[in-house]
Symmetry: C2
Subunit: 333 residues, 2 copies
């Protein structure tokens, strides 16, 4: 274990990305998110993912020199064509005008197409909350959940995220949840280890519940809450793919591996001004709602905020991860 | 069983409501929704609920003479103070300016406070879809779901609804789902009959799973998908209560019974113009997504649309329901 500062992780990640073909702009936006994920204890979205990002630059799943193209099709709408670059550069381009539009119009939307996996969705919605606005985000993924009772994948594990402003430049809480019972990576991990999965996580290719991780990978992921999880995935698909003009999960290429070219998936963000909609009652009501969780259970996002506080002095990085980082960034001794 | 036309049900329901103190405006908006629920086979939101509506007019849980007060705090925001009348009159007042604002701004919001149970949420979002816009709706309810792992109710069963336009003046599909595994009314029904409930529906007052319907009513409703169901309920609470300035479920009076005065809950609707956000790609993408359900499972809302088609010639009303309707409307022989 080595301790690195967030800034150091960001610098090394940026170097790794530019070394594999990303422009400064593309690398900067993604490296900031990778370092923030490490800071927040979200290891799976941090340095662990960097080799895949570099590989995807090399194989052409991501176009490292893409320039996000921003248009304003309506007063309250910001549209960004990510040009099959990283989602992060497109979102970074779109957030400032989204926030400005929400402040002047009361509510505004940011629609992103020709995009890619955006990492932790809550990273982006939290930035909307930091501007004093309620942020709601949707991002779609290659299809892996079947319609309830069916056997063929139709929609992705499609997360949505809500970030709620605390009135002091931060987020009171952040929800960031996918539509599946567990992440697909949990099933992949067990398939590789030859271990079974608990019942209820996934279905085999014939639509039956399975505890065989290998069979599960040929089948579909179980939606959280049965048909209601399918409903949540469908909600996200309508916003992140249909309303943006991005590729639906059914036709998107995989987020893993090197084949199929750019996935071309999408993101959709809404920003709402509590000042415009609540008549000054937002903060008080929010404390009533948040207060009901005190002494009962953690508010969503509490674990992230806790890790963030603990990591102010430095972030623990495993020796193997550091070795990979140094190799990818060309800083190995 | 008697067959009544939708128009006849609407007329009788309107008469019942005005006879119990509702203004023409209040009665008209609600009676149309009751008749539409009967047409769509949603009996629990139809005439079955009429005695409660009338009782709530009599006891003062609903103010029958309330005039919804509409303001425009920002170009893309419509705010309505329902004045503790029925939600339906407030929503009816807010939908036309919401739709107009979404068409000109690209996205718009309708925030309603001092409101009441709005019946089937999908009834309202579908009207947004009929205008060619994507409609997303939230409505909150008195607290009955506990934070995951906790024992005290914090948020209501809080449904959300998505209605997606079909490009021909209708809805391609309508999702309308609550955050709980089942509706609380299902537990009440079994408690009255002295029957057990299946495990997984509800928790007792100590937070343990129970199959005793009576104990469940002293406890909390189980969220669909565990903590993800709590997340969905919290999302709805933020929009329907915090962003509107309505009463959070924790302080709202019950939707049933006659005590506690007006619940003062809220609704929040978003309308998004696909033309503004999707660059002309909405319809094609929607067919890709909807097409993945064909031959696999029903798209959400299919049952409603099927009942609607079957009921064109008349809606079957049980003898007992008709007798109650005639009594309430003063048309009994």
């Amino acid at each position: 274990m080595t301790r690195l500062t967030q800034a150091r992780i960001e610098t090394l990640a940026r170097e790794a990305l530019t070394r594999h073909g990303a422009s400064e702009r593309q690398a900067e936006a993604l490296a900031a998110a990778i370092a923030a994920a490490e800071r927040d204890g979200l290891k799976s979205h941090g340095l662990m993912y960097l080799p895949t990002y570099c590989e995807h630059l090399t194989c052409g799943k991501v176009l490292g020199l893409a320039e996000p193209r921003l248009t304003r099709p309506a007063p309250a709408v910001v549209a960004v064509d990510a040009g099959n670059g990283f989602a992060h550069a497109a979102i970074a381009a779109g957030l400032p005008p989204l926030i400005e539009a929400a402040r002047s119009q009361g509510v505004a939307a940011l629609a992103i197409r020709n995009s890619y996996n955006c990492g932790a969705l809550g990273y982006h919605t939290e930035r909307i909350a930091q501007a004093g606005l309620v942020g709601l985000g949707f991002t779609n993924a290659p299809a892996s959940i079947a319609p309830w009772g069916g056997g063929k994948a139709a929609v992705g594990t499609n997360p949505w995220s809500l970030a709620v402003p605390d009135g002091q430049g931060g987020a009171r809480f952040v929800i960031d949840q996918s539509a599946s019972v567990v992440a697909k990576s949990e099933v992949i991990k067990r398939a590789r280890a030859g271990e079974p999965i608990p019942p209820g996580w996934a279905f085999d290719a014939s639509g039956e519940t399975t505890t065989d991780a290998g069979e599960a990978l040929k089948g579909t992921m179980a939606p959280a809450g049965g048909y209601k999880g399918v409903g949540a995935a469908l909600l996200v698909e309508v916003f992140a793919a249909c309303l943006t003009g991005a590729n639906p999960g059914l036709v998107a290429s995989p987020f893993s591996g090197t084949t199929g070219g750019p996935p071309g998936t999408g993101q959709f963000f809404l920003a709402v001004s509590p000042d415009a909609t609540s008549g000054g009652l937002f903060a008080g009501n929010l404390e009533t709602v948040a207060g009901a969780f005190i002494g009962e259970a953690r508010l969503p996002g509490t674990r992230r905020f806790g890790a963030r506080e603990n990591n102010v002095q430095g972030i623990e990085v495993a020796a193997e991860t550091l070795a990979t980082l140094e190799k990818l960034s060309g800083t190995a001794a």
